[in-house]
Amino acid sequence: MTATGIGAPVRRKEDQRFVTGQGRYVDDFNRPGQAYAYFLRSPYAHARIRSIDTGPATIMPGVVAVFTGDDLAADKIGGLICGWMIHSKDGSPMKAGPHPALAQGKVRYVGDHVAVVIAETLAQAKDAAEAIVVDYEVLPAVVDTAEAAKAPVQVHDVSPDNTVFNWHLGNKDETEAAFARAKHVTKIDLVNNRLVPNPIEPRAAVGEYDPGTDNYTLYTTSQNPHVARLVLSAFIGVAPEHKLRVIAPDVGGGFGSKIFIYAEETVCVWAAKKVKRPVKWTSDRTEAFLSDAHGRDHVTHAEMATDENGKILGLRVHTTANLGAYLSTFSSSVPTYLYAPLLSGQYDIPAIYCEVDAVYTNTAPVDAYRGAGRPEATYVVERLVEKTARELGQDPAEFRRKNYITQFPHATPVIMTYDTGDYAASLDKALEIADYKNFQQRKQESARRGKLRGIGFSSYIEACGIAPSQAVGSLGAGVGLWESAEVRVNPTGSVEVLTGSHSHGQGHETTFAQLVSDRLGIPIDQVSIVHGDTDKVQFGMGTYGSRSGAVGMSAIAKALDKVIAKGRKVAAHVLEASEGDIEFKDGKFGVAGTDRALGFGEVALQAYIAHKFSGQDLEPGLKEGAFYDPTNFTFPAGVHICELEIDPDTGVTKIERWTAVDDFGVIINPMIVEGQVHGGIAQGVGQALLEGAVYDQSGQLVTASFNDYCMPRAIDLPSFQVGMTVTPCPSNPLGIKGCGEAGAIAAPPAVINAITDALGHEDIAMPATPQAVWRAAQKARMPVAAE
């Protein structure tokens, strides 16, 4: 390992600009002559729009234009799309209601887009929006996940019972048979609480149109600018793909919420041409709460069957998933193929059957949020495993160990084939770091102080590196999920790597450069990573699902192989040797068995001056591209252990220790990987203890600011003890599994298992706020101790 190669904790190249305030985020871009967009949003969760009178707004100071859904329709601008087709059990396609960028006839959630005002200043746009007169016929609303299918409210005409699909996975008969054989059945009812992603940078967009060239440019807070361009051109139809440039510059966190193609950027691009000026929109936090796609929101009943030896026989799960008022870009895939295939967890479960009913409600659309489906699956499996162990009177760690999969590859009953792993190794290491053997002592010590101490496990697995295009295509995906890379070697030997992955905090400029430095043997500062601009990078699928290492870097590795192969040809000509005799090692192309060699830079120069070979036998230049399509998902897995203490007087829960032992396969930069783990845990702890989006019965979002939606703060979290085990991933050239979502997937059940352990009963839901824990503690056996 070199100081900057694979495995080194290289300090991030991008940090110089970020720590000095020189990062360039979308809102930092100001285009000459730009006007500002402000969206008039629905104050009602469900209403028919009888009429919209924009007249009074158009004459307000500074107003450039006011548009409604009719204007979009007149220009034949299509609606927003959902790119993953799910079929119900009966074979019928999911019921996708129309999703216009600006409402047509009806609004379906508070925050739905009614009209847009474009003005000289944002303040003027807001002033004018207040002057728009909308005549609403307010309709009853449905917000409750479990009630949606029965509610006397119809969100979309296409779906009389508000059901998007009734989907299933697994073998029902085999599962029923397993339950019939069971010695013991453990049952659980779970709510996976609705979350608001809340990257600290709110979404923003600047649309621009050049009438001279008929070119459009969109600056947008996107995790996948090429997908945005594809959808905006091919489906929504705002501009032809080759005329639309999408730039996603520095992006301040995404966590899934910036994957999707939203109304606002659609309108900004379209309106820029209409008003012949750049149009800028920046979300404020309230708008972000109302209109960013939310995450999770499942209601689940699950049962686990075990035999007389405590071996798991079967699992059956019924989940109702709230998809909100419209189907967001990938929403349908989240509670289906990103969820049920993970229900086997790390366990050898012979039979699994899962049914998922997806429903519409009058709430913000729900889509992928860090983990996307896998946290929901892990919560079901790990809560159920913990509860089963307790009911059987077995140690939760040993119960898990007994049921771990130990032989690989392992085909689960829910379409996944796990390639490799060593779950017991992670468990052993985690038990050691967590000092599990002395836990009872610490519990007693807490009890002496009147506190309830608990410990909770989470043995999670996830499917990352999405994904083989053929496989996801057969499951309904509208796109392939490969990645592209282009390696451009300059005549001076410096290298630019163009990648379809997008970094919004993950540190690609560093890790990707480490790979290049390692493979080409050149200094890391000779490498630039270019991403986030459709005019520079030909195509790419973007960053989500912990895929950039396993898929994005594999594409780069593939392109680097081609560069090296071409370099050998060049070196062979220059060194007048046979290509077969050229070895590439430590940045040098040498003739085997001699001391004749050329440095990488010399070969680069020779490739461009082309003096030593004719263009007939070898093309000049040194630039190679590659598309990498994975052959399998990757399966990061690990064990997290949460130890916490509850003050039964107030219900305050304090996490005392957090142990994470993860197997991410080969690690490029351990510093960055650990950072991803930390951030994921924080979001998972946030879900378990603090965060929850709450709509009232009329559909108003009660938690529409940081005053009511509780974000994790530094004081809410401990420092984390992070360990690693490594089983290299066999399905990609780098052995990488991915690390971005692990913490968010692992953490929630670890926390709730620890709380239920402390309380001595299972009756607590997420978020386990002080109020909820206090109430649950009233039911718990109180320790004998003075306050």
Partner: protein, 164 residues
């Protein structure tokens, strides 16, 4: 319109502003100092923290007219002579940032913590003092490490501190 005069990162600035202009808007829109960010509208996230007369404040909850005749320091004003401020260097060294959006506010808050609480900061103090800054990426683990290390480094660079 009202005229304001203030010193920003050592430079005198005079401008006619609409009184409703927030300090953060003035910095970003008038002075193009876009390192100071806006992450919320209820004064909680701390992405907009700057120093006003040496104290950390939320520039999204301060009118620029309230900062008239004051001295403002932003994230762009703390590195000197091309060398990072010790707190900036510590955030980089300890991976105290990921997407970078909260980072300017975090660093400005961290420097203020050191000014108030000294160079030897324990973990609990740092966590408590970061109450007004939200980060969604790091889980705070490395921010806490960075602030502790930055605080120590500031003790070793007293001259630079005085220069700020």
């Amino acid at each position: 319109m009202t005229t304001v005069s203030l010193t920003v990162n050592g430079q005198s600035v005079t401008a006619d502003v609409d009184p409703r202009t927030l300090l953060v808007q003035f910095l970003r829109d008038n002075l193009r100092l876009t390192g100071t960010h806006v992450g919320c509208d209820t004064s909680q996230c701390g992405a907009c923290v700057v120093h006003l007369n040496g104290q950390a404040v939320k520039a999204c909850t301060t009118l620029v007219v309230q900062a008239n005749a004051s001295v403002v320091t932003t994230i762009e004003g703390i590195a000197q002579g091309g060398e990072l401020h010790p707190m900036q260097a510590a955030f980089r060294e300890h991976h105290g940032l990921q997407c970078g959006y909260c980072t300017p506010g975090m660093i400005m808050s961290a420097i203020d913590i050191v000014a108030r609480k000294g160079n030897g900061l324990d973990e609990q103090t740092i966590r408590a003092e970061l109450e007004g800054n939200l980060c969604r990426c790091t889980g705070y683990h490395n921010i806490v490490k960075a602030v502790a290390a930055g605080a120590q480094a500031m003790a070793q660079a007293p001259l630079r501190q005085a220069a700020e």
